[in-house]
Assembly symmetry: C2
Homo-oligomer: 484 residues x 2
Amino acid sequence: MSGEQELGITESKEHATGEWYAEVVQKAGLADYAPMGGFIVTRPRGYAIWEHIQDHLDGWFKDTGVDNAYFPLFIPESYLEKEKDVVEGFDPEVAWVTHGGHDELEERLAVRPTSESIIAPFMAQWTRSHRDLPMRLNQWCSVVRWEATETKPFFRTKEFLWQEGHTAHAEADGAWDETMTRLDQYARLYEDVMAMPPLKGRKPEHDKFPGAHTTTTIETLMPDGKSVQAATSHYLGTSFAEAFDITYADEDEEDNVAHTTSWGISWRAMGALIMTHSDDQGLVLPPAVAPTQVVVVPIWQEDTKDDVIEYAADLAAELEAGGVRVDLDDREHRNPGFKYNEHELNGVPLRIEVGPHEVDDEEATLVHRPDGDQETVDREGIAETTQDHLDTVHAKLYASAEETLDGEIREAESREEILGTIGQHGGYVKAGWCGDEACEEPIKDAIAAEIVMVPLDRDEEPIHDECAICGEPSEETAYFAKSY
Amino acid sequence: MSGEQELGITESKEHATGEWYAEVVQKAGLADYAPMGGFIVTRPRGYAIWEHIQDHLDGWFKDTGVDNAYFPLFIPESYLEKEKDVVEGFDPEVAWVTHGGHDELEERLAVRPTSESIIAPFMAQWTRSHRDLPMRLNQWCSVVRWEATETKPFFRTKEFLWQEGHTAHAEADGAWDETMTRLDQYARLYEDVMAMPPLKGRKPEHDKFPGAHTTTTIETLMPDGKSVQAATSHYLGTSFAEAFDITYADEDEEDNVAHTTSWGISWRAMGALIMTHSDDQGLVLPPAVAPTQVVVVPIWQEDTKDDVIEYAADLAAELEAGGVRVDLDDREHRNPGFKYNEHELNGVPLRIEVGPHEVDDEEATLVHRPDGDQETVDREGIAETTQDHLDTVHAKLYASAEETLDGEIREAESREEILGTIGQHGGYVKAGWCGDEACEEPIKDAIAAEIVMVPLDRDEEPIHDECAICGEPSEETAYFAKSY
């Protein structure tokens, strides 16, 4: 059984989360490292997860008035510079194209790190009248940010896949509703598709997207106690519209400045998904994003082989007709134990075992990933039964992640308590905060934790009356956590 | 009615095809020119056409064993150089990234012009045993080629969207079947989705994809008499596998070199589509790729307004429920004539007019784009009737394009006849050819026409016994044409 050892994950999720994560990503065939540091190759099983995420979100976007478009990969340096009108000290770490063929370019071109500066001028051009608004554009693409950090597939890569939505509205209300609509769709993605409980909040003023009026965020908790910024939705106010001249004539032919938003989610969502659910046997996926939702494994002896394989093949065909993404694993050169391990490593949510007993009794045995719960069920109505079990697998993953999260949100009333609690347990610590960035510093300096969010509702009463750091009256509740 | 004049296409398809095309693309809202020469911005209506093309092809690819993946945007110069082992004199005109942030890179990175040189090394790594084959990978992405030519949206742009498929097979037969499967899928796309009759053929030896054993091509005829290379599918033999060491252990554990293929279609397909069907009123689209398939236009007087709009809205809702992509145009500030012109400009294949008569008689009037054929039909069963009419619109577009093509394939038996026929009529001229590139030269030099394809079947008898140029025995039938 040397094969089983090759398959095995050798690192421990609990004791070496980073190494374990990297091993799961590679051994489950999700991604490999590219020859250039900071870049990865996304293999079919990994890319299929991204496609399922895309399909869900893209459908919701289109149902709510968003049009997809495609803007150039490159942004002229002078266009990027324009963001300096909005963002003081803007100095993007980007990849620069300086030569085309054998010739040096007259102006350097940045590989897009985000597309505000190329999209906004076109929005300005296309927005004439209030009838052109709201204008909602989205693009699915890759972006490049030249940050020098250790490569961590999906979490930290110089090139990453994402979508970026950019919208313009006549009024602040419309733009704010847009911001919240997208935040809610991201939250729904985490809950209903990825089986992860999202925290919805706002970034503190000093950590907003540069130029934004408000940055809203989805935060999710990782098993090592760190928070991941898992999607963001920005209400930009009129700052970008003013800088790029996005104006419209209202019903009285008066010129007005538009209100804009931008919102995005990257393949970091996949990283958070993999890290949250997977275990020491390998990848664990919720059924909605699993490339293969069900694997049917026939278990035969020589005398039962034909019957068992035929039964298993029929069953798989019925599931496929019922809309289940199913594989039949009738490989002859692998034994059932090897197959079980391999499909567990690859994150197949449900295994269906079929042996001579199942054939005789017209049944099938369903085994859940990751908890191994199993049930023998009637062959009749198997597509519906399987769908129920897939729903149960999702619900169990969600419940488990939610239980973890609930236990990892604590409170603190002093600097020492914040440091001690995060130092000991990780997770989130809620504390009163005066709103001054300076009061984040001692926490950042001591344990590299920061304020990852504050409540969405600006009128929400702070959890405590006093700032846990300085003792001045607190303005809001800060969620401190270490962060990816 | 000044609005109508704004909408109008001012150039003539017949007399100024290039200017007319550029005007249609911009006025129908498909694309705009980016600030950098050679780049365009693809607007929602244009991108939606590309999405429909993608959806059809991607489904067929997946049904026939292809997995999507994603490889890095950048390719290290040393990797690109590796293609010199396959392709003599390989000197790609690419965009070079030389700086990341403020630092000069140790090795320049090419923005991918095509991904053979980064995909092949990974295929080599992932291919161990015959059980790993066939391996079929595809990616949808953008590529950049730094060719200095005038920008022509979708036809000639430095950055373009495409898909590139890369496969490896144990045997030549499997790789050849793969090559033909993809060529047939491209042909099906043109016929069934884009309503264009494709010619299937092979590129002459001297015009193959560098390193390929065989380059197969789809050629389509443009209204100005030129041919467009509308998709290609390459059987690469073992040349790439040898250069990049894509080998596998067969059933006897013997090492073998794999056979590979690559195949791609770009947004040039959209350019060919737009140019083929559109007319002096604007864009014409076959229903399968039209962002809006049907527009319902209510026509009311003040006293009939409520009834007509309600009837029209119900009708539109029923169509939408029936799976038709439908818009209701109940704008108050535009009259029906303006709306008709606008939807014609934008390429909506079917207009449904609803006035008081239609309401009274429970009917609807269907008007086809582009020929203006109209029919008043029963309101009952409108979704099905509409689908029938959309099918008819597709069939008429196809028939028209096919009739044009049939009339544009001529024969010639001498150099003078080739030159005269193409010079006078454009289109394709079939002629006997000895197989020597030298015999293409005089045609190229005189009228910039070339051999765009030869028959797929290598055993097909040449149309004439003698080469039309040199008089030596002819080896195959050459299709001469001017080309995009």
